[in-house]
Amino acid sequence: MAELLKSNRRDFLKIAGTAAGGLFIGFYWSGCDSPKMQVLTDEEVLSQAHNFNSFLSISPSGDVVIYSPNPELGQNIKTSFPMVVAEELDADWEKVRVFQAHLDNDKFDRQVTGGSGAMPHSWERLRNAGATAKFLLVSAAAAQLDVDASELTTEKGQVIHSKSGKKIPYGDLVTDASKLDVPEEVPLKNYKDFKIIGTPVKNVDNKAMFTGQPIYGLDIYREGMVQAMIQRPPFGMKIKSVDDSEARKIADITDVVTFNNNVAVVGDSTWPLMKAKKLLKIDYEPDGNVESTEDHDRLFQDLMEKGKAQVMRQDGNVDQAFGNAAKVVTAEYQCPFLSHSPMEPMNFFAHVKGDKVELVGPTQTPDRARMETAQLLDIPTENISMELTRLGGGFGRRLRADFVVEAVELSKILDKPVKVTWSREDDMTGGAYRPAVRYKFQAALDDSGKMIGYKLRGVGINAGNTTRENNFPSGSVDNLLIESINHNSPITTNAWRAPITNFLAYAEQSFLDEVALEAGKDPVSFRLELMDRAKKDPVGEIHYDIDRMKGVVEMAAEKSNWGKDSNVMQGFSVYFSHRSYVAQVANIEMEDSQPVLKKITAVTDCGIVVNPTGANQQVRGGIVDGMGHAMFTNMTFANGLPNQKNFDTYRLIRMKEVPEIDVHFVDNGIDPTGLGEPALPPTGGAIANAIFKATGRRLRSQPFIEQKEFSDIKLEIKRA
């Protein structure tokens, strides 16, 4: 049975004639081995195609053009969005060409990459886009064949009349179909009938990426463009004086400009800029707190002991519960600042021409960047065009607009088109980190080992609310107090893949492991008991779906063979974030009489899996990310500057350190709930818990490698 859904009329304002051209980044690669057909160029297809809606045009040649509006940074949205449109259209995927749409608030909404929200947000709209076009094509076919539409079916880009055996390709119908009225409602498929969704469709940019095409922001070179690099101040400092005489001596340096506490060197190519920037002599003076890691250590301690906290959630009476407890478990956890460090450092192209601006580059929030540009220059947003390149990673760093706005400012000053490139050192020292946090947990147990009280106090530096107060185990404990304290610092922070939960989950899932063991219970049974409690007799509000959470816990225990093999020391973790549920089990085994992390099993409930290859990689990538940063990466500060400035001291995980990762998904037909982030949070806890199981030592600080508890863990895994 097909479901009926209201179509979004805004998508179907008919644009008569053919699609507008324009410059798009997109490549067609039919696969190296497939026989060459008569293939039209992208320009030919675009000039002939009829627009059905914001997402979709079809040309008489049968080529289907699908626009993907959201910034692509490796979450694979540029492949999975079009898959959803093509599914409801019943398109032949071989004839689909995908183009990156640029910022266009009239055609699209939420052109953002963040919060794992693109697919959940656009799911219905994308389906309607495909289904409505299909409806129109079928109507056109019914008229052509003079039959009732109910006698027609669709498959792989054709309308089929099985009674007569007639088949009409979509290309032959588009001219008629594009003249028809758009229906209010169209039927959508049952998910069991999906043919494209749920199949491993290859990344549409493979050829471009694997042959070195200019698709990233740093690859932008425009006529008349100059290049620039900027020396930004340490946090809490301002410029006192600038001596640029040595820098100006570098051949090719055309200008040195001081603006807005920044010093920009300007020239035609990158290497002279790098050299000149190093020769700048800038004196800074304090302009607020100039902080170092020792200051933060002191601050954390003070605030944890006597800071005034904001109460985020309170259930029952914790004082009473802890007064009556047979046992109290207390532990503190901490996580450092981290840089996002996408492989492509920050950069942007800006060209201010009078009251018009052209912007090109990699951003996760094109709309915000445009708005901040409009504010800066006091011009309407319509005057600003924003072209999206592919992003060489983002991890939240590109949600800020700082790197766009400074390019705009510089272009205005220079009165030239400019590309600003951040060196790796600029990228790492230039701000917007994952905040540093500390947590203090306390649990009160009664005689039977039941958790009757739970307290969490989080302290963060520019972290906002350090807790997720309505997340598990809230709802399962009678007496609960969750508090948060924030310290404002000049060190800038920003959402970092799975904000807050990327460290909170590690701390909480490690602590629950401690409590389970103190209560004499198996860590999985302990969690399931709490969930049963929350289900039967919920305490206060519950913002997670207990059945879905239990589902992944039980499946992970089964898939990982939890507790069945005494040679394998296992750690468990489960977390709900960004609408999805992920449970993980880390396996440690002995190798050359040293413990080594061999395997992580992950079970994910993110609803319908659109593209299994992409989804699998989101989970594995999230785990590698969570694992690498939990184990290796640290960022400390001295006098307002990070001590780690490049990958020699800022250690990222490498191939040899990555264990086998076994990925499973729950198949439940629920609409997609997001996958860019949810696999990351559980990983640190699963690993720390497995290490405790193997060594009896609890890792309460990240990065693990800097803790003595971790010293005899083997890092490189032997591979057969």
């Binding site: 940019d205 070179y221 990689q617 990538g621």
Partner: protein, 152 residues
Amino acid sequence: MANYSLKINGETFNVDVEEDTPLLWVLRDHLGLVGTKYSCGIAQCGACTVHLNGEATFSCTLPVSSVGSDEVTTIEGLSKEGDHPVQKAWNEVDVAQCGYCQAGQIMTASALLKKNPSPSMAEIEDAMNRNLCRCGTYHKIREAVALAAKTK
């Protein structure tokens, strides 16, 4: 400034640059070969990997003055149609996330397979460990190198 005549992807290019200019920036800024990527600039990540006489080499720390008459191959010159066995395997395994590191990964992998056509997993890891992937596609890279070794 000095003039250098470079052999890149089977062609000869003349550039006039400072002698300490890393090959990476000659490729990107002066020759428009932007497939070779910048990420760290200090020989730590492998994004800038090219072949120098067939050897995987970090171009970000290689001064143009030291290239001489050595043959340089970049990702753009690895194959004419993007159909080098390693590129095909990369497509088959659908390796990339953001893709930014992948040109460098492909160059390291293709240099390895030229020297050692059937590497063991340990040998694949020894060769590939010098290339970072911030997105964490390491499993697929391993799988794709093994596939390329099998299929070519």
